[in-house]
């Protein structure tokens, strides 16, 4: 009798489940995006993660925008701009008739104007701004882009004209203005909140000029946006945009398959073949602006010997790593910059996988029996390295074959990066993601002599004067062809000195339902749904 009752209860539960699994789409056009995490808050100035930038992109806009799918820039909140002959004065002419969004506590009384631009930059720049310290006041990108050093003044010429004066000419300044940290917030909203005594609300309940406004955020669960009806640009095709948050890529895929979401971020590469086979899905892909590598600390023995570094380069089977860990989602790397970037030197020949030759080189270096070393693996997934521990294991096995006994070491992520930058490791995996598409954005922070100081950004502590002179010179030139030549030479020098085992440039994939149209992948890894439609 009990058995029957249990069975009946089970049937009811399962029936309920079966009905629940197929939700009815709610009237208007809704696009659900299965995203990988919660945003830290709703202000891109304060943050550095792509997840947070993605969640803010529907809401906020910048003076300049990246043309969707490219690294080129186009006008956005600024209709046009003039750059003075010396490159130090940039005048932005702002767009008229741009409306601010509203919420239940705030209704804007005016359109977007120069005050908003000045407020948004001074908030990040000036101690005297009442908002400078609000929400912790960590403006990482503003600092990373060196703006405190570069900016001299920002002046309002009239309500629709703003002039930026720089201390030095800065070629990537316009692309910098298209980056997420340069988003524009409403000064009127800020003033109202300050008066109400809750300034931190500006970063929790956002007001922007973008195509969507925030409707609801349920922590760790969903973000809901609705189309902003007074948006100045082309109205989005979808009425409701939902970010459904889930950390597990397998779960995101299961939801995509069940049409519970229509676009998903960062699939498991192991699932790519199945996604390609599925007729109801499409898979977009694009090489990322990144590099994952194993850095040799050239200041430590025996890695100070270029023969040892070359031997390791030949001892590790790069193909096996790409097959097992990247599983087709990576391009084998032979230069520090990715092949999509201008000045990439394709003449450089990668080291072959040749354990015998590696052993010989080791013997020449006086280490016929190999040596003991550590091999650091970061504890987190990074865009350029899907699984550092797995890669570490594969490398460890390969190195053991030539007599090098590597011990895998890991620390908590912040600690890890700090220790690597301090040069505590012998060999450490790390990598880099580009910010603005310029080669200098790779070479200077990673491989210059300045970065090789203890605590500097270089994880090899490698300082080659010839290489350094080349990249220093290239940074000051304005002609791209001239710069490219210097960078190409620099890549040859780097290859010959082998301070890295360069692993791969990862490829970014975006699976989506077959009926999604108009999605363009951004080279910067941004996820943007302004132009997306459902057929």
């Amino acid at each position: 009798m009990i058995k029957r009752n249990l069975a009946a209860a089970g049937m009811i539960a399962l029936a309920a489940a079966a009905v629940g699994a197929v939700p009815s789409p709610a009237g208007a056009k809704t696009l659900v995006y299965c995203s990988e995490g919660s945003p830290e808050n709703f202000n891109p100035m304060l943050n550095t993660t792509g997840t947070t930038f993605d969640a803010n992109r529907p809401i906020y806009q910048r003076l300049v925008a990246f043309t969707p799918g490219t690294t080129k820039t186009e006008p956005s909140l600024a209709e046009s701009w003039d750059i003075s002959a010396d490159g130090k004065t940039i005048t932005f002419h702002l767009r008229h008739g741009v409306k601010w969004q509203s919420n239940k506590d705030f209704t804007p009384t005016r359109d977007f104007n120069a005050d908003d631009v000045i407020f948004s930059f001074e908030r990040q720049w000036k101690d005297s701004n009442p908002y400078h310290k609000v929400s912790g006041g960590g403006y990482s990108y503003f600092g990373d882009m060196d703006l405190p050093k570069i900016l001299s003044s920002i002046d309002k010429i009239d309500d629709y004209t703003v002039r930026f004066v720089l201390n030095m000419p800065q070629a990537p300044f316009i692309p910098d203005m298209a980056m997420d940290f340069a988003s524009i917030q409403s000064k009127e909203y800020a003033d109202a909140l300050l008066k109400a005594g809750k300034p931190e609300q500006i970063d929790q309940v956002p007001i922007g000029t973008g195509p969507f406004e925030l409707q609801q955020y349920q922590r760790d669960s969903t973000i809901r946006y609705r189309a902003f009806k007074d948006y100045w640009g082309t109205k989005p095709h979808i009425d409701t945009l939902v970010f459904s948050i889930n950390k597990d890529p397998a779960v995101r895929l299961a939801k995509l398959r069940a049409n519970e979401c229509q676009v998903m971020s960062f699939p498991n590469i192991a699932d790519l073949p199945a996604i390609r086979e599925d007729k109801s899905l499409q898979l977009m892909e694009q090489p990322g602006l990144n590099i994952g590598y194993l850095a040799f600390n050239v200041q430590k023995k025996p890695l100070d010997d270029v023969r040892v570094r070359k031997a390791i380069n030949m001892a590790i089977d790069k193909k096996a790593i790409l097959a097992a860990v990247y599983q087709g989602a990576g391009l084998p790397a032979k230069n520090l910059i990715p092949p999509t970037m201008w000045s990439y030197n394709d003449q450089v020949q990668d080291f072959p996988y040749d354990p015998a030759a590696a052993k010989k080189l080791l013997a020449e270096a006086g280490l016929p029996d190999g040596f003991d070393t550590d091999l650091w693996a970061m504890p987190v997934q990074r865009p350029y390295n899907p699984d550092a521990k797995r890669i570490g294991e594969l490398m460890q096995a390969d190195l053991a074959k030539v007599g090098i006994k590597a011990k895998i070491v890991s620390y908590e992520w912040g600690e890890y990066r700090k220790r690597v930058q301090a040069g505590e490791h012998m060999m450490a995996q790390l990598g880099w993601t580009g910010d603005n598409g310029d080669p200098d954005n790779f070479f200077s922070p990673l491989a210059s002599c300045a970065a090789a100081r203890p605590g500097g950004g270089s994880s090899t502590k490698w300082c080659n004067e010839k290489f350094d002179a080349l990249i220093q010179k290239a940074a000051t030139l304005s002609d791209q062809a001239d710069r490219a030549k210097l960078y190409e030479q620099a890549q040859v020098i780097m290859h010959e000195d082998a301070p890295y085992f360069l692993i791969a440039h990862s490829v970014v994939f975006m699976p989506m339902r077959a009926n999604v149209v108009g999605y363009k992948m951004s080279p910067f890894g941004a996820h943007d749904f302004a132009n997306v439609d459902l057929k």
Partner: protein
């Protein structure tokens, strides 16, 4: 008494070894419990497998067969007899990893139980004997540890010490400490009230002697039971930490860590998830059955 008397007679026989009466009674009552015997048998098999891992395992637990990523188990389509339970995502034989993992699991159990048993017993005896402020201090400490969800506390401790098998064991030992302390204190207190303790004390025994030679041996039964069950808890908790990436680090074939490694692949290759989990379940089950049997046999009051 009669069985002790007959013991010398039996001792001359080759097959039947003499058994002191209480032990034999205990065994008889233990053997009655089929579950307990099953648990004991699985435990013994596990110990043998762990000891003979080098001989039993078909492959090295960390050797990567680069042509055999995610090979299914032998009976599934695409499986091969070379890898009976299939391979993981870097081509390691799952069966061999499980066999070597048995060593680690037993090691975890022994280390955690030994640590928390030793410390817990001393603290418990101290609390019982000293009484007063010491008692209150120790027991309040234990209460406070118990107020935190054990996994949360273990995670924080591992975060402090850094991830790794050894640190995970320390964390688990700390969070399981209160049960041993409480148990020892309760048992010791009830013993202390007995006449023989008073008698020994009057005979001039020092407190240490009283603690370890007189009282402790009489508290052993519940502690043995708790230790056996603690074995199971230790393995489960260590596996949970491993699952969260805080336990043994790769390529160590620890079962919980294997589960964590399976996360990316389990929808495509069920075997990378199913077998390590089954191994944990079976081991924990064995110790639980064994422990229950011990309790029933040692403590007639609790039987049925």
């Amino acid at each position: 008494m009669s069985s002790t008397a007959s013991a010398p007679v039996q001792a001359t026989g080759a097959a039947a070894r003499p058994m002191p009466g209480t032990l034999r009674l205990f065994w008889r009552s233990f053997a009655e419990n089929r579950g307990a015997v099953l648990g004991l048998s699985i435990t013994l098999v596990l110990i043998v497998v762990a000891l003979l891992a080098d001989v039993v395992a078909p492959h090295s637990p960390i050797e990567q067969f680069r042509d055999n990523f995610l090979t299914p188990p032998v009976w599934a389509q695409g499986g091969t007899a070379r890898f009976l339970l299939g391979t993981d995502d870097v081509g390691r034989d799952i069966l061999s990893r499980l066999i070597f993992g048995a060593r680690l699991s037993l090691l975890i159990g022994i280390a955690v139980v030994a640590l928390s048993l030793a410390v817990g017993t001393v603290l418990g005896l101290l609390a019982a004997f000293a009484g007063g402020f010491v008692d209150v201090a120790i027991m309040r400490m234990m209460d406070i540890v118990l107020v935190f969800p054990s996994l949360l506390l273990a995670i924080v401790i591992v975060a402090i010490l850094g991830p790794g098998l050894f640190n995970a064991m320390i964390a688990v030992a700390i969070v399981t400490l209160p049960s041993y302390t409480r148990l020892t204190r309760a048992a010791a207190l009830s013993e202390l009230a007995r006449d023989y303790v008073t008698a020994t004390r009057c005979a001039g025994a020092g407190p240490l002697r009283l603690m370890f030679n007189t009282v402790l041996p009489n508290c052993v039964a519940p502690l043995i039971v708790q230790a056996t069950l603690g074995f199971a808890t230790a393995i489960l908790d260590a596996a949970a930490l491993g699952f969260l990436g805080l336990g043994a680090q790769p390529p160590t074939p620890e079962w919980g860590t294997m589960l964590a490694g399976a996360l990316q692949f389990y929808q495509r290759a069920w075997w990378v998830l199913a077998f390590p989990g089954l191994a944990i379940l079976l081991t924990v089950l064995a110790f639980n059955l064994f422990g229950d049997g011990l309790r029933d046999a040692l403590d007639p009051k609790l039987r049925r």
